[in-house]
C-alpha cells in the first residue's frame, strides 16, 4: 500500500496562448487557462487530532486526496476542452513530492500536462493562500493563461481566498462560487451562488473562476485515461524560479479542538430561561 501523502495546495491551470482573434469566438487555437486549487481532503470518518504542540492538526498517516471543489474545477476545465473552447488544460499543484499523485489524478481525468511547484518542509507547513496566489499569478503570466479555474475553497482550512487573491494580483476579473459558467466569445458568463440567491455576471477574459459544488459532477478516470496519464508530462518548478517568496507573514499561535459539548439544562418556563441566561451573563 502506498504511503499517504501530504498534499496541501494543488492548483490546476489550463494553458492558453495569446488569442489573435480577440473578439471572435474562441476556437481550438485559443486555449483557456484554468487554474484550480486542490487541497488535502482529510477523510470525514478519520478523527482529526490536534498535534501535541498545538501548532496544527496531525496529517501524518492520513490519506490525502484531491479537494472536492478542485475536482469540480478540473472537470469544468476538461469539459471546456471537450467542447473545443479550450486548447490545453494544465493542472498545477504546490507542495511536496507527493502532490504529483494528485496531479496525475487530474491528468487521468483528462488534463494535458502538469506543473509541480515544489514547496516542502517548513515552507509547506506555513504555505497559505497569499503565497499560493502569488505563485499562480506568476505562473499565469509565464504560461500566458486566459482562464484560471480553482475550487472555491479547500475543505481543510476553508480559507476561500486563493481565487480572489490571484485575480487581484493579476488585476483580472473574477467569478467566484460558480455554479454555471458559459464561454461566450471573449466573455465568460458566470452564475454565482451567493447568500441572496443566484447572481449572473459577465466577465472579460482573462479571468479567474472558483468552482462551487453544483458546477458539475466530476467524472471517474477511465482506465485508458489512467494509462495515458502516465505519459503526460509534469514539469518541476520552484517558487524562487517564479520570483515568489513563500515566507509566511502569519504565525499560528495555537490550534485547539472545539470545546467538548456540555450537557444542557432543561427549564420549565420562558422566565426561567431568561433568568438562567442572565445568570450565565449571556444577556
Amino acid at each position: 500500500m502506498h504511503r499517504s501523502s501530504e498534499v496541501k495546495h494543488v492548483a490546476s491551470y489550463l494553458n492558453t496562448r495569446g488569442c489573435e482573434c480577440f473578439g471572435q469566438p474562441c476556437e481550438s487555437h485559443c486555449p483557456v487557462l484554468t487554474d484550480r486549487t486542490i487541497h488535502v481532503q482529510l477523510k470525514t470518518f478519520i478523527k482529526i487530532r490536534v498535534k501535541p504542540d498545538r501548532t496544527g492538526v496531525v496529517t501524518d498517516g492520513v490519506k490525502h486526496s484531491m479537494n472536492p471543489f478542485c475536482e469540480i474545477a478540473v472537470e469544468e476545465a476538461i469539459k471546456l476542452k471537450e467542447k473545443k473552447l479550450v486548447k490545453e488544460v494544465v493542472a498545477v499543484s504546490c507542495g511536496p513530492q507527493q502532490v504529483q499523485e494528485t496531479i496525475r489524478t487530474a491528468l487521468a481525468m483528462g488534463a494535458d500536462r502538469g506543473i509541480h511547484v515544489e514547496v516542502s518542509g517548513k515552507d509547506y507547513e506555513t504555505l497559505g493562500p497569499l503565497q499560493v496566489s502569488k505563485i499562480f499569478a506568476a505562473l499565469a503570466k509565464k504560461e500566458q493563461a486566459d482562464l484560471i479555474i480553482l475550487g472555491k475553497q479547500a475543505i481543510d482550512d476553508d480559507c476561500n481566498q486563493t481565487g480572489q487573491m490571484t485575480a487581484a494580483l493579476l488585476d483580472w476579473p473574477q467569478g467566484t462560487f460558480a455554479s454555471e459558467m458559459t464561454l461566450e466569445a471573449d466573455k465568460l458568463k458566470v452564475v454565482r451562488e451567493v447568500d441572496g440567491g443566484l447572481e449572473t455576471i459577465k466577465i472579460k477574459l482573462p479571468a479567474v473562476v472558483t468552482a462551487d459544488l453544483r458546477l458539475n459532477t466530476p467524472r471517474y478516470a477511465t482506465l485508458p485515461n489512467i494509462m495515458k496519464a502516465k505519459k503526460k508530462k509534469i514539469a518541476n518548478v520552484k517558487p524562487a524560479d517564479l520570483g515568489v517568496d513563500v515566507c509566511s507573514r502569519l504565525e499560528v499561535l495555537k490550534v485547539d479542538e472545539p470545546p467538548q459539548r456540555q450537557a444542557g439544562v432543561k427549564v420549565e418556563t420562558v422566565d426561567d430561561l431568561v433568568g438562567k441566561l442572565k445568570e450565565a451573563g449571556r444577556v
Partner: protein
C-alpha cells in the same frame, strides 16, 4: 503499459518464484487504477449494495458506468474497445468493486474472464469484432454456459449436443447455473459434437441472446450475490451459423479449462473484496462497540480474530497477485491460480463468518452488511471450480513437479 509493468516488476516476474517479496508496492499505474475503482465502489456501489441484494436487481446503470471507465473489458486491447491493461490490473479492479458490491464484482468478472476471455484468446478477427467490441461498453454483458444439470465439476461429461445441419449448427440441451444469463446479450456455450470422443468431442459456440431456440429458466433464488441473475439456459433446436464455432472442433474442453484458469483469478479477487469488506466492518465495530468498560477491540479474543482475518486476506491477496503476474508474463500459472482461488474463497468464508461473530447480534441482522458478506462469500468456494477441484488441480501439478 504492459511493458512498463514488466519493467517495474522486472526481475520479480522474470525469475518467477521468490521475487514477489521484493515488490514493496504496486506500480503507480496500478495504484491509480485501484484507487479509482475503490472510489467508485465506495461512492456508487456500497450505498446501494444492500438494496440491490434485497431487490435482486441487476445494476444496469452502474454496469454502464463501469463500461465507460473501461472496467468491463480490462484486458481487451484498445483497438477492440477495451482498456488494454493487464490481468493484475483486472484483479485489482474486481477486488475493489467487490468490496463495494459482490454481485457487481461477479458481473464484471464473468464478462471479462469468462465471456471476453475465450473469444480474445481463441476467436477469429471477425468474431472478435462482432462478439467483443459491443461488450466492452457496459451496454451489453456476456455469459459462459458450461455447467449442466447433470454435471458441474465433471465438465467433460457435457451432454448438450451440437449437430451440423448444412451450413448451421443445431444446439440442444440444458445448461445450468449460468451467471448473468437474464441480463446477457450473448453466451459462450459448450456442446459436444462427438459424444464418443468424450471430453475431446466438446466444442465451443457463440450464441446471441435472445435467439430462437434459446430460452431461459427461472431465475434462481440464491443465498447471495442476488443482484446477479443465475438461471438455466435451455437450447431446443437452436440454429446458429457455422461461423459461430469458437476455436477448432473438439477444442471446447481445452478452451473451457484455460478460460477457467483465468476466471478463477477473477473469483479470487471477488472473494478478496468480500473478505476485505467483512474485515472493514468488523474492525470498525471493534473500535466502536464497548463491553466490559472498553471498546471490544481491546479484548484479546477479538484481536486474535482480527489478526487471523487480516492474515488470511493478505496471504490470499499475494497469491492472487502472483498468479496474475505469472499470467501477464505468459508463464504457467494454473497451480498458482488454483491456490489463489482456494485461498481467497476460504478466506472469504472464514473472514465473513468471524465478522458476524465480532458483531455479535448485530452481525445477524440486515442493518449491518456483515450478514450480506457472509451470504455473498459462500458461493466463491463453489463456482468456477469448487474448492475440491482446486485441491485436485494443485495436487496434480505438485505430483507432476515431483515426477520420478
Amino acid at each position: 503499459m504492459h511493458a512498463l509493468c514488466i519493467q517495474t516488476l522486472g526481475m520479480a516476474v522474470g525469475h518467477g518464484v521468490r521475487c514477489l517479496s521484493q515488490l514493496a508496492e504496486l506500480p503507480e499505474l496500478h495504484q491509480m487504477m485501484r484507487q479509482t475503482c475503490r472510489d467508485y465502489a465506495q461512492k456508487e456501489l456500497a450505498p446501494i449494495a444492500a438494496q440491490l441484494d434485497k431487490d435482486h436487481k441487476f445494476p444496469a446503470k452502474q454496469v454502464k458506468e463501469l463500461g465507460a471507465m473501461g472496467v468491463m473489458a480490462v484486458e481487451v486491447p484498445e483497438s477492440l474497445g477495451g482498456a488494454g491493461m493487464d490481468y493484475l490490473a483486472y484483479c485489482l479492479a474486481v477486488e475493489e468493486l467487490s468490496r463495494g458490491c459482490a454481485s457487481t464484482g461477479v458481473i464484471v468478472s464473468v464478462n471479462n474472464s469468462l465471456y471476453l476471455g475465450p473469444i480474445l484468446k481463441f476467436g477469429t478477427e471477425e468474431q472478435k469484432k462482432q462478439w467483443i467490441t459491443p461488450f466492452t461498453t457496459g451496454e451489453r454483458v456476456g455469459c459462459f454456459a458450461l455447467s449442466e444439470p447433470g454435471n458441474g465439476s465433471d465438465a467433460g461429461a457435457a451432454s448438450t449436443l451440437a449437430q451440423q445441419e448444412g451450413d448451421e449448427w443445431v444446439l440442444s440441451g440444458t445448461k445450468a447455473w449460468i451467471t448473468n444469463c437474464w441480463d446477457a446479450s450473448a453466451t459462450v456455450v459448450f456442446a459436444t459434437t462427438d459424444k464418443s470422443l468424450k471430453h475431446k468431442g466438446i466444442s465451443a459456440f457463440l450464441v446471441p441472446m435472445p435467439h430462437p431456440g434459446l430460452s431461459l429458466g427461472k431465475k434462481e433464488d440464491k443465498l447471495g450475490i442476488r443482484a446477479s441473475s443465475t438461471a438455466n439456459i435451455i437450447l431446443e433446436d437452436c440454429h446458429i451459423p457455422l461461423g459461430n464455432m469458437l476455436g477448432e472442433r473438439g477444442m471446447g474442453f481445452k478452451i473451457a479449462m484455460q478460460t477457467l484458469d483465468s476466471g478463477r483469478l477473477g473469483i479470487a479477487a471477488q472473494a478478496l473484496g468480500i473478505a476485505q469488506a467483512a474485515l472493514d466492518c468488523a474492525a470498525d465495530y471493534a473500535h466502536k462497540r464497548t463491553a466490559f468498560g472498553a471498546p471490544i477491540g481491546k479484548l484479546q479474543a477479538i484481536q486474535f480474530k482480527l489478526a487471523d482475518m487480516a492474515l488470511a486476506i493478505e496471504s490470499a491477496r499475494l497469491l492472487t497477485w502472483r498468479a496474475a503476474m505469472l499470467r501477464d508474463a505468459k508463464k504457467p500459472f494454473t497451480k498458482e491460480a488454483a491456490m489463489a482461488k482456494l485461498a481467497a474463497s476460504e478466506a472469504a468464508t472464514f473472514v465473513s463468518h468471524q465478522a458476524i461473530q465480532v458483531l455479535g447480534g448485530m452481525g445477524y441482522v440486515t442493518d449491518m452488511p456483515a450478514e450480506r458478506h457472509y451470504r455473498d462469500a459462500r458461493i466463491t468456494e463453489i463456482y468456477e471450480g469448487t474448492s475440491e477441484i482446486q485441491r485436485l488441480v494443485i495436487a496434480n501439478n505438485i505430483l507432476k513437479e515431483y515426477q520420478q
